[in-house]
Amino acid sequence: MTTSTPAAPPLTAPTSDGRVRLAAEGLRLAYDDRVVVDGLDLTLTDGSFTAIVGPNGCGKSTLLRALGRLMRPAAGQVLLDGRAIQKTPTRDVARVLGLLPQTPIAPAGLTVADLVTRGRHPHQSWLRQWSAEDEAVVAEALTWTDMTDLADRPVDELSGGQRQRAWISMALAQGTDLILLDEPTTYLDLSHQIDVLELVARLHAERGRTVVVVLHDLNLAARYAHRLVAMRDGVLVASGTPHEVLTEQLLADVFDLEARVVPDPVAGTPMVVPVRRLHR
């Protein structure tokens, strides 16, 4: 190994100039004949932290899949830095945009270090094999997510919270400006949910990542994200700061929920206190 430290990879804080990084234009998403999302427009600016919320089956995960070019739109398009994402070579996309599906699975025996190493795949080719820079990025990603001590442990033997950290570490090693996460807190207890969201928030604050996350928990979404996008039945109902979006009226309209919205005593962000379900 070389002792000279390679040039630091581009992980430094960003210049968020409000430039649009990812945009959906007239997006229609369908599984066969069943239209899940229709006529949706959305723009995500550089350095933003957006949470997509909505009831089960509202199409938020489907939207995230389309934003991450995992799903081909039936109509409309997704633009990544102004280019149609479906027409951009997938490896080029993978250098700019990383994604974590809901509860991803690692093959048996795959260690944390191996998993994080695979995050470097988009930067490698037959001509450009594993480099000192890749090694440095992986080591740094492990350190930053506090996974160095667990680096040689198989991912399938970790606890749920540790496992999610390992995957986030992989996404960090991928070195993309944008990161899409689909319900990263699923199956985690509350303290591990906080742990994972703190990590995601640090990705945004310290690493300048543009983050889009699908979340179920409205209070956590309001606390961590700077912008909420609320969806119902495949339609974008509201978009704005947590204060703008999380109103009692919106909870009734989108979630069929009668609720009080009070300031979160810790963060001051809106906090939802449910009263009862509205039947209509």
Partner: protein, 356 residues
């Protein structure tokens, strides 16, 4: 988090050497690879030396190095044992690699090259060749078997891709099982109605290296070489696909390309192996599991090591078959099933069954 926030370990600073555990694993992999290479040489030597007529290693060496020799031993070695050994090497490697690819693509620990309809297609074509065209020699079967294997895979692919989501490992495996069941029923229908066909077919269907000359080895060699090259190219993609198609795509892998390359490689390898030797069960299933014990899930290691281990296992089984029933011999397909069963049970008992 249950991870104690220790002060940053020096090992994690950029540019420092890799961690000791990682070096230990690399050493285990290299040791395994070297051991397999040695075993391949030993198995080849045994396969050339041991038979109905045992030959000393000295005799073997003289005959191999001095081509001008035309003693009886030299003739046995060059006309019978060397082609048989070469074929065993190729077929064993093919089946081992085809198994590793199949398990990798389907993420199914019970993945077997036969799953894609390769074996059933080959069997059906061979039985037709025997019953309708009166073909009775292994070199006559080869092209029919190969054509049948290709047709079987194409049919499975078309069936598997017919559904809404296109061809996925699950639909392919389902289509493969269905088509195999149908083709085997047709094979049996032909055999039941035609005793002569049954007689010829039963020698093909047990799977054997015996009676296959150098001509067959040469016929299948290009397909096996092409299949092995494609399999090696496919290995990095399989590592990504092991984390699910979404993650693989997210990391920039073109999934359809990886699937296509894998499918073509499996068809070439399993098709060529079946065409040359008849259906040989178990090897493709067992070998990748055994190899994974020291390579872990990394396909860059798993694929080449499965090739070597497959060759070792097939040659060993063939040699055992020549020894246990002297002066006759037991076909390698039967020996493998007998050896493979207990071996697989031991493997499953030793470590928790690998979920892929």
């Amino acid at each position: 988090m249950s991870v104690p926030s220790v002060t940053r370990a020096p090992a994690a600073t950029p540019g420092t050497p890799v961690r000791p555990q990682r070096t230990a694993r690399t050493r285990r992999r290299v040791l395994g690879l070297v051991a397999l290479l040695v075993l391949v040489v030993v198995a080849c030597a045994a396969s050339v030396a041991i038979g109905t007529r045992p030959l000393g290693l000295g005799t073997v060496w003289t005959a191999l190095t001095d081509r001008s020799l035309r003693t009886e031993e030299a003739v046995i070695i060059w006309d019978l044992r060397v082609p048989r050994t070469a074929l065993g090497l190729m077929v064993g490697a093919s089946l081992g690699v085809a198994g590793a690819l199949m398990q990798g693509h389907t993420r199914n620990p019970l993945g077997d090259p036969g799953l894609l309809g390769v074996t059933a297609g080959a069997s059906f074509a061979v039985v037709l060749a025997i019953a309708l065209l009166g073909v009775t020699t292994p070199s006559g079967y080869v092209w029919f078997a190969f054509a049948g294997a290709l047709a079987g895979t194409v049919a499975v692919y078309v069936l598997g891709a017919a559904g809404r989501g296109g061809a996925t490992p699950v639909t392919l495996a389902l289509a493969g099982s269905t088509l195999s069941a149908l083709l085997y029923a047709l094979v049996r229908a032909v055999l039941v109605s035609d005793t002569d066909s049954l007689d010829a077919f039963r020698f093909w269907v047990v799977g054997a290296l015996a009676g296959r000359g150098a001509d067959i080895a040469w016929q299948v060699l290009p397909f096996i070489v092409a299949g092995l090259v494609l399999a090696l190219l496919n290995a990095p993609a399989l590592d990504l696909l092991g984390m699910g198609e979404d993650v693989a795509r997210g990391l920039g892998q073109r999934v359809w390309l990886a699937r296509t390359v894998g499918l073509v490689a499996i068809t070439l390898l399993a098709g060529a192996a079946t065409a040359a030797c008849g259906p040989i069960a178990f090897l493709g299933l067992v070998v990748p599991h055994a190899v994974r014990t020291f390579t872990g899930p990394a396909h860059r290691w798993l694929v080449p090591c499965s090739a070597l281990a497959g060759a070792v296992l097939l040659l060993t089984a063939d040699v055992v078959g020549r020894v246990i029933a002297r002066p006759g011999e037991v076909q390698v397909g039967i020996v493998l099933a007998l050896l493979g069963g207990p071996f697989f049970i031991a493997l499953v008992r030793r470590r928790k069954t690998t979920t892929l």
